[in-house]
């Protein structure tokens, strides 16, 4: 199985400037997975393009398969991973939608594939910019989902991904998500790790059971009659629940290597906060900037940035929000339930089950790449404050920056 060795001394960092796509492609080169089938789609196209260049230049020896669609990309990844090869792909938006059927197969066959997703909205109206409609739509496919605020986190999350996916208590595929264009194309400072410590951290893939294993025949993905489906799903759910601890353990080991500590979420100035904004992805950076400005005015506000959406850390979120007076749950996707966004539904359900009765307001923001500004964040915090301190009614399911 994967390398279980603990790292004790941090590796010497390499300062660079990169976009999110460059950062994840650089990490892919360092990890050098066995097989990468991919099909280009904006804004993730650069990832397979850069990996292809690395391969052509002899810097890595991944078998790159230029497939004819994303349906084929995930099918090929499922086949390669079943055969015993460490596999991955990259996609966005409609590409992820075309993989839908195989996403569920990758998870139910317990194949530790890694997908680097560059979040882009789904049509329609057709649009190429960032929101989380694609990955939130795939939230029930059985994949672990880890989100990044910036290029550094995308890089770090990818390096941790195989250790989580391939862990014997998990054996599930992992989706590493970053915001389209905002993160994927925005160039920022980044601290890279040298190649060898990354390779040592990720380790060599040695699955116990795989198709190309002479003398040990195995059938992957057989038909299950009614007597087995519920039991198979329950076992898969337990693997997802196990992932929570594995994600934390891998994060601790990664911290020893890199000096950067990750968790299920990041709490930013929440310790004494009355009002907290719960948010995913690049907009968390904007929210933190707003928090700094508002803290300067004496307002007790904070940000809870969710990193891991699957498995969903319901109890941990409810505990983190236990001492605040109100939370704004920020969804970057509209799922037309008429009740709440994806994050809004799950967080409010979690608060209820943990017997929390804080004011929880669900906001939809940033659809189709709409800017989310520090002023927007400040207005949300002010609305929470008015709701709690002035008793002004606040709607439960609102849009940020909507005309009309």
């Amino acid at each position: 199985m994967t390398n279980e060795k603990k790292m004790s001394t941090p590796a010497a960092p390499i300062p660079e400037r990169m976009s999110g796509n460059e950062a994840v492609a650089f990490a892919i080169r360092q990890v050098n997975p066995d097989v990468m089938p991919a099909f280009p789609i904006t804004p993730s196209t650069e990832i397979p393009q850069m990996v292809s260049s690395y391969i052509a230049n002899g810097l890595m020896d991944t078998e790159f398969i230029p497939v004819e669609s994303e349906h084929s990309a995930m099918s090929a990844a499922v086949g390669a991973e079943s055969a015993g090869a460490r596999s991955m792909t990259a996609t966005s938006s409609a590409g992820l939608a075309l993989m839908w059927e195989e996403l569920l197969l990758a998870a139910s066959n317990r194949l530790p594939i890694v997908l680097t997703l560059v979040n882009r909205t789904l049509s329609g109206p057709i649009n190429i910019n960032c929101d989380h409609t694609d990955s939130m739509g795939a939230r029930d496919t059985g994949w672990i989902q880890i989100y990044a605020e910036n290029n550094q986190e995308v890089y770090d999350n990818y390096i941790q991904a195989y250790r989580i996916a391939e862990h014997r208590d998990v054996r599930l595929p992992v989706m590493i998500c970053q915001d389209g264009f905002i993160t994927s194309h925005g160039v920022q400072n980044i601290s890279l790790l040298p190649d060898q410590p990354v390779k040592d951290f990720v380790g060599t893939y040695a699955p116990e059971e795989y198709l190309l294993n002479p003398g040990k025949p195995v059938a992957v993905g057989p038909y299950a009659v009614t007597d087995y489906v519920m039991e198979a799903r329950k076992a898969q759910r337990e693997a997802m629940e196990n992932a929570k601890q594995v994600i934390l353990d891998v994060a601790d080991e990664f911290a020893a290597l890199s000096g950067r500590q990750y968790g299920l979420f990041e709490e930013y100035r929440t310790a004494d906060a009355d009002y907290v904004m719960l948010i995913i992805g690049s907009a968390a950076g904007t929210a933190k900037e707003a928090v700094d400005e508002l803290r300067g005015q004496g307002k007790k506000v904070g940000v809870l940035k969710l990193r891991v959406f699957r498995p969903f850390p319901e109890k941990e979120i409810a505990e983190a929000l236990a001492n605040c007076r109100a939370v704004a749950i920020m969804d970057r996707s509209e799922n037309y339930s008429g009740q709440a966004g994806a994050l809004g539904s799950e967080v409010t359900a979690g608060l209820y089950r943990q017997h929390s009765d804080i004011l929880a307001v669900n906001y939809i923001y940033g659809l189709g790449g709409r800017d989310f500004t520090t002023e927007d964040a400040a207005a949300v915090f002010e609305e929470l404050r008015e709701g709690v301190e002035e008793g002004r009614p606040v709607g439960q399911y609102r849009y940020v920056g909507l005309r009309g």
């Binding site: 194949l111 054996r171 116990e208 025949p217 195995v218 039991e231 198979a232």
Partner: protein
Amino acid sequence: MRTDITKINEKTPYQDLTEGLMVFAGGTAKLFKTGEWRNNTPVWDSEKCRQCLLCTPCCPDSSIPVMSGRRGNFDYDHCKGCGICANVCPFGAITMKEGMEP
């Protein structure tokens, strides 16, 4: 992780199933008697049969066994009664009969 799958059945608790329901053996499809689904049944007339073996590769379920270059009777445990064999036979040596029994 390798499990003796002959010990797994519909009473097995979920914790004891194989990961992803992997099957650790080869050729296990033989044990699944899909012939039970049959509504029509092909009947082979060995007198009319010239052993041209056109029927064998046309069978989608590999239910026409061949030994030493000659076909034998149908494998009714796996034949689903599709009738392709009867349709391709040039000599009228295969007829379709309604029901499960030959």
